[in-house]
Symmetry: C2
Subunit: 453 residues, 2 copies
Amino acid sequence: MSDAVKFVLDESRLPRSWYNLQADLPVPLPPVLHPGTQKPIGPSDLAPLFPEELIRQEVSLEREIEIPGPVRDIYRQWRPSPLYRARRLEKALQTPARIYYKWEGVSPAGSHKPNTAVPQAFYNREAGIRRIATETGAGQWGSSLAFAGALFGIDVTVYMVRVSYNQKPYRRALMETWGARCVASPSMETESGRAILALRPDHPGSLGIAISEAVEVAAKSDDTKYALGSVLNHVLMHQTVIGLEAMEQLEMAGDYPDVIVGCTGGGSNFAGIAFPFLGAQLRGGRKVRIVAVEPAACPSLTRGKYAYDYGDTAHLTPLVKMHTLGSTFTPPGFHAGGLRYHGMAPLVSHVQELGLIEPVSFHQTACFQAGLQFARTEGILPAPEANHAVVAAIQEAVKCRESGTAKTILFNLCGHGHFDMQAYMDFMAGKLTDLEYDPTELAMALAGLPSVT
Amino acid sequence: MSDAVKFVLDESRLPRSWYNLQADLPVPLPPVLHPGTQKPIGPSDLAPLFPEELIRQEVSLEREIEIPGPVRDIYRQWRPSPLYRARRLEKALQTPARIYYKWEGVSPAGSHKPNTAVPQAFYNREAGIRRIATETGAGQWGSSLAFAGALFGIDVTVYMVRVSYNQKPYRRALMETWGARCVASPSMETESGRAILALRPDHPGSLGIAISEAVEVAAKSDDTKYALGSVLNHVLMHQTVIGLEAMEQLEMAGDYPDVIVGCTGGGSNFAGIAFPFLGAQLRGGRKVRIVAVEPAACPSLTRGKYAYDYGDTAHLTPLVKMHTLGSTFTPPGFHAGGLRYHGMAPLVSHVQELGLIEPVSFHQTACFQAGLQFARTEGILPAPEANHAVVAAIQEAVKCRESGTAKTILFNLCGHGHFDMQAYMDFMAGKLTDLEYDPTELAMALAGLPSVT
């Protein structure tokens, strides 16, 4: 084992291809169904929303898909991202475990999201598209697409969940500095938004509603496409640069993970770090435990149902088979807004059904406590979403201390918390509580799932 | 010339020594004077404030001072920092100039300040010190020392200029997440603070007052030392890792600067990028134009007097010869709080007197406009302080376009603007105006300079 703390890959070793887990699945993904006919959809059904190349990637079974040159050129601004050995954290925990973390906060937008925002903007631009509509919760995805849009000259409109729009004006300002237009959702700009505001003028919004608005805009317009920051197969695949780099960096360190930890909202940063290792395992390589960490207040993997469901509230999206809390479920307002989604990526759900990953959940105060310990040892202040990975990694390291085993733990630190200081202030002031979802609402949302199998 | 956009130094090429410009000065620095006797001070006069090794570095004439191993170990977390070729900005400006920028926002605290916070905390820790008092304006220095204190187990108290304390709660929260105590200055904790509050209970504070408070605490306590984030010789020297790395990176690029640009408040990030190149020039190397950029509303280099003055308001510090607006001068409240200081580093002032650098000044709206253009081309959102370097670099590049000359421009992008979004929002909303200092106040402050020559 190397005694270095930072493992930097030379730029020449920036991955040339993304890794597509679909190539190695022992059982293929269930088909995506048309919301009207409930029959499997074809590429033409998605054409109003996405450029052809992204649709091709969504269903591709090729193991490797080449990263275009212009995308690699932009990746190079912050990639390969560093892999760190968390020696100061290890010491504080008095653990024999070796803890490594991949640090995605070095991107201009401060999270892993530009890994897919950049290729999505690129493929749209290649297809002649000049406008993209999207949604955002806490704002990490919206700001990443705003950044990518600025680089490719694409106008970006972001429907931002209203409660976040009001609570996080600085995230909104960040999108605007990159030239994007940011609209509070539900808005009066779409039928979906107007219908909801008619029922409840002060509706706080949800990711499901914001997706409906952005999809509607794209579907109705000839010159606008839609972009999603997580959930879809091609989005998860773009994130595999994280795990592919980590594999090479751990090789530099002379190590290999026993446990991989990632936080899961829609599933993209988790898939990014885990899928390349999972693929290696499926091809006969070393087995690795993979832990998916979700918020206890929005527990799609641990308490949801594996069923066909809509990705949005207005039921404009296709039906996908996933772990879901039901598209009408509204999670309570905990701070990790990027994890407040009723569903889960079909690929992540599928590998959980195959028994290849372990889901766990944590409440938010435990996550912030872990984030503070991480900041005071490793020096980096994580985003509230990333704190879910931190707390689970710490828990694994503590288990190692208790059992006296020196395991190798790898986790993805998906973003920084610079735009989440209010949450840290509330936590340090003792004002933050653990929020619970409403079990009756969850039961109703699950009972209302579409009757498709 | 290389066609790469990012130049990454291997960790093995992290500088092993800081560069001390004092070794190469054609004329030595004027002596520092005791505030009581007005005679040159000796090391023992500084002993209540600083550990011995930092006092030694302050007056050293050695060209290279070795960076201790534990400091290099922490530097490695984010150093060598990347050097970028700003190709997208060049294209937008249609300039034949080659623009390079060194990016210091990759540190955990988001600016160049940890380059000196870490060694300062280290030397204090080596001397057995467990508590440090300091001041901060916008908060970049305070948060950097908080970060360094957390790593070395040193309790940090930060006296933060009250107006910033109230306007920037998130910067304060960042210090607290790293375990520092942050106090609004003027405070009731010190004689200096109480005296000012007695005269004006709602005093907004200033860097000069906050320095008085921190110095007083250190001077009166056996177990507490003081730390300064800029101005002093040893602080500027610690920052030379920036320029030393940039030299090697430009060599990788096959290039050498014709012009170097840095923003100047106290002078440390400017010295960090410029002094290694200036030293090479003084030793017979290639001549380079060096441009120091300051805010038009706090113009110590362009409108101040080169004279002996105090570093603080309560006149507790020694007298240093520098460009100063007078220690009673209160700059207007523009957004680049890190540049709101009445004085300038003696070393920067000295090389200006020797005709080795060119000072220029800009108003804040021009700076924010440049920052926005930078964000939309290069993707990185600069701090308001850094925007002063951006605007001057752009101006140099535009001159190249107009004259058709392909010069090489290097500037230091000293930090990110993630904690300055309110300023960007105000600018984008058209609410930001150019602030002017009060010429009568400046004349009075200059008239009140101590009569020492």
